[in-house]
Amino acid sequence: MNPPMSLIEAPSLFSVDGLVGVVFLIMMAITVTGGIIACNSERLVRAVAGLIVCFVGVAGVYYFLNSPFVAMMQMLIYVGAVAVTISFAIMLAAPEEKMKIGTSSPLVGPFGFGTAALITGGLSVLAVRTEWPVMTKINDGSVKNIGIQLLTNFSMVFELISIVLLIAIIGALIIARAGRDS
């Protein structure tokens, strides 16, 4: 699955493999750009747009990780549900004047950037330095296997997740209702 680096020939840009690589690079770029837009744009709606772009990129990355199923679920859930919910909240709750981000103190920006850079750098160094053990696969990770595992080994978690979702929906309804009545 993960052959040693030396064995892979560097493909040229115009070969099929090269094209695939380019697509992957584009996906990465989309992801990071989307993330940056999501965290830096002044208007919240643009932030949501950035989030969507980022999630489409992440879905593409998942596709490269051999799991189209998760990639599609990513789009379906994040783009179709989460992003729409957030947009709704923006429209319902935030008048436009208040959507600008402003930092309460000028130090917050650099501080945030520093912390983020530290964490990113640390994690990356850790990731690269560590020797990850590679084990042989016991199945191909197809949708069918996911289904079987979900209903056997992970059935408890599956049920719990269902309950969590149910409670979340009911809770959300109650909170939003309470807010309206006041």
Binding site: I8, P11, C39, V48, K98, G109, G112, N139, R180
Partner: protein
């Protein structure tokens, strides 16, 4: 190692995950509105999911577990978004603001 074969390398994904995580952290710190923070936290979750998927693809023996975990994270994220946004709306209709600092007084 060519730049075109990056997708065959575990480290690429791990660094990408770390990047997203870092962006999310930055967003959470700098954003003042609750919705902005929520968006940033979604990025954090995405970064974590990418790590799960990457290990799932490159190292784990059973390539199903990581996917299932990612699915669970998505479910949690959706639930979180729903709850978070209903809180935002409730807060807004109470304080007429979703700025986190305007809402520090937690009395009824």
């Amino acid at each position: 190692m060519s730049i075109f074969t990056l997708y065959n390398n575990l480290n690429t994904f791990l660094i990408l995950g770390a990047l997203l995580f870092g962006i999310g952290i930055y967003g959470i710190i700098t954003r003042r509105t609750l919705i902005g923070m929520l968006i940033a936290s979604e990025l954090l979750l995405a970064g974590a999911s990418i790590n799960f998927m990457a290990f799932n693809r490159f190292t784990a023996p059973d390539p199903v577990v990581g996917q299932i975990f990612t699915l669970f994270i998505m479910a949690i994220a959706a639930a979180e978004a729903a709850i978070g946004l209903s809180i935002v709306i409730a807060v807004y209709s109470h304080f007429k603001s979703i700025d986190a600092e305007d809402t520090v007084q937690l009395k009824g």
